[in-house]
């Protein structure tokens, strides 16, 4: 119950930092010609200014929300609205966090998790992208394998972690492999969908200009599928993080997830919450980095 109140701050952060997370893929693909000649052609500069304005607003709102929640938790904890074991006062947690940051143990765990997450994101995205490309280029493969990927989506792949441990052992590799697969699936599906929904006229244009296969891929197909690929990227990052932390939680000998469970088991409540804050900060950082990547990749698309 308490745990769920803190993560909700993080999820709000992620949704407010980019305006329309639910349907960015369709803005670019569906822009059919509008009827009237003078309907909407605002000069580009003011709208860019407004874009930064909304970004500033959401950053401000997020900060205000975090401050408000922290203040609430502090007051509630001091006033004895709930037991200290449920949620210690943020001031206590942050003090503990300050101590942690000076400890070698903490940095070993953070490094381990960081490497695992980063490796799963990179490998997962590359693998998923390659698979999506293949499904598009060879529609037969897509028809055969896509249904399995879609149903795999619904399977909590963490279930296979014991199998992976038997195969690879309890180490970073087994976590990376499974988290990579978890990240690759949404990336592959999104890439394939993005490429397949590309307006046929783009390929007609490519044919009429006799573009090389390379030009067709890099100058037309990949940018055309851009919004879908970015959506896949976002899911891949989230899945890599969830997968890594969850598997560390289950069985591992180091990592942030492992440490949280360990502290939970030895009743070190304050230390546990300090680590939870670290994971939340990590997920916020990833979200911010994603938003920046998105801004660069999708410039001009969000009308």
């Amino acid at each position: 119950m308490t745990r769920s109140s803190t993560p909700s701050t993080a999820s709000r952060t992620s949704s407010s930092s980019h305006p329309s997370p639910s349907h960015p893929p369709f803005t670019a693909a569906d822009d059919l010609p509008s009827e009237s000649a003078s309907a909407h052609h605002a000069p580009p500069d003011p709208r860019r200014g407004r874009g930064w304005g909304t970004a500033g607003f959401s950053v401000g709102a997020t900060l205000a929300l975090i401050v408000a929640l922290t203040a609430f938790a502090e007051i509630g904890s001091r006033a004895g609205w709930w037991n200290d074991h449920v949620l210690p006062a943020p001031s206590v947690i942050f003090t503990e966090l300050g101590v942690l940051l000076t400890e070698r143990q903490f940095w070993i765990d953070a490094q381990r998790t960081g490497i695992e997450v980063a490796a799963s994101i990179v490998f997962g995205c590359l693998l998923g992208f390659a698979a999506g490309l293949l499904f598009w280029k060879v529609p037969l493969l897509g028809r055969v394998f896509e249904p399995y990927l879609v149903s795999f989506y619904a399977v909590p792949l963490v279930l296979f972690y014991p199998v992976m441990i038997v195969l690879v052992g309890i180490n970073a590799m087994s976590v990376i492999i499974l988290a990579t697969i978890m990240a690759a699936i949404p990336m592959a599906l999104n890439t394939a969908v993005g490429l397949n929904q590309m307006p046929p006229v783009y390929l007609k244009l490519a044919r009429s200009l006799r573009t090389s296969p390379r030009q067709t891929l890099f100058a037309i197909a990949i940018p055309a599928a851009g919004p879908f690929i970015v959506a896949g990227l976002r899911l891949a990052v989230v899945y890599a993080l969830i997968g890594t932390i969850a598997m560390e939680f289950t069985t591992a000998q180091a990592g942030l997830g492992y440490r949280i469970r360990y502290l939970y088991e030895i009743f070190d409540n304050i230390g546990m919450f300090a680590y939870i804050v670290v994971v939340l900060v990590l997920s916020c950082l990833l979200t911010v980095a994603l938003a920046a990547v998105e801004r660069v990749l999708l410039r001009g698309r969000n009308s």
């Binding site: 010609p33 000649a37 100058a219 037309i220 698309r301």
Partner: protein, 266 residues
């Protein structure tokens, strides 16, 4: 014989599908002279677009041959510019990047590309919108971008496949008049497909009327309206005469097409 224009000899296209054979286009023997503006009108489903695709090299002819500027067409060629019916602007590129796109693909050197991009944007009246993205433009403006992209390549001929079909009537007439002016300045050979008789008359020097499937040219009408025309020409008596003549040839074909489609759909 004019070696610079478009020449079609004994052209026909037959589509073999599992269900049946459809002759889309048959017996086309026509010439589009150099620097002239020819429109093709016909009922929907008559194969106008197929004919255009064959001239563009995007579709293989079953029999016959096409040559552009004296060379036989064997496949797509950047020298044959095509403006599509659908919105073909690329949403991730600005107007100027869109216009430069075709030149980038065929490897036009950069300084030349920059100059031609600027000229083409001015020609289609989009100066001031160079940095805008297609999502910030109206449908009519996007088609201008597509037209500028095609013109910037400096093709031998320009083929336009109902480029304004998705636009409203006023925008259409207005853009049509602009295309006409652009043509008057560049003297590019243009083949223009439309189902709108007024548009065809307004734009062209010559209008070909196509029959319903199998499509063939059943009437060739020279448009003897003044060279300098704007959208106001639609209210002149001569325009009406031409309109009536084309409508007369088209009416029977449209009915035939309509009845066939009705029959096949029931």
């Amino acid at each position: 014989m004019d070696p610079q224009g478009i020449e079609m000899t004994g052209l026909s296209v037959v589509f073999d599908t599992a269900a049946r054979r459809v002759t889309a286009v048959t017996d086309i023997d026509q010439i589009v002279p150099h620097s002239s503006f020819v429109s093709i009108v016909g009922p929907s489903g008559c194969g106008k677009s197929t004919l255009l695709a064959v001239v563009a090299g995007l579709q293989k002819a079953t029999t016959g041959a096409v040559s552009v500027a004296g060379r036989p067409v064997t496949g797509p060629d950047p020298k044959i510019g095509v403006v599509f019916q659908e919105d073909s602007t690329l949403p991730w590129r600005t107007v100027e990047e869109n216009v430069a796109f075709a030149m980038e693909m065929i490897g036009t050197p950069k300084p030349e590309r920059r100059k031609r991009t600027k000229d083409a944007i001015e020609l289609v009246g989009l100066a001031g919108f160079e940095k805008s993205y297609p999502s910030q433009l109206s449908g009519g403006m996007r088609q201008r971008v597509a037209l500028a992209r095609t013109l910037a390549v400096q093709p031998e001929v320009v083929l336009m496949d109902e480029p304004f079909a998705a636009l409203d009537q006023q925008t259409r007439l207005f853009l049509g008049a602009e295309v006409r002016q652009i043509w008057a300045r560049t003297k590019q050979t243009i083949m223009f497909v439309t189902h709108d008789i007024s548009e065809a008359i307004l734009l062209s020097q010559q209008v070909w009327v196509m029959s319903y499937r199998p499509g063939t040219i059943i009437d060739v009408v020279d448009i003897d309206l003044p060279g300098e025309r704007d959208a106001g020409v639609v209210s002149t008596p001569r325009f009406n005469e031409l309109h009536n003549r084309i409508w007369g040839s088209l009416q029977a074909e449209s009915m035939r097409g309509f009845q066939q489609q009705e029959a096949s759909s029931t």
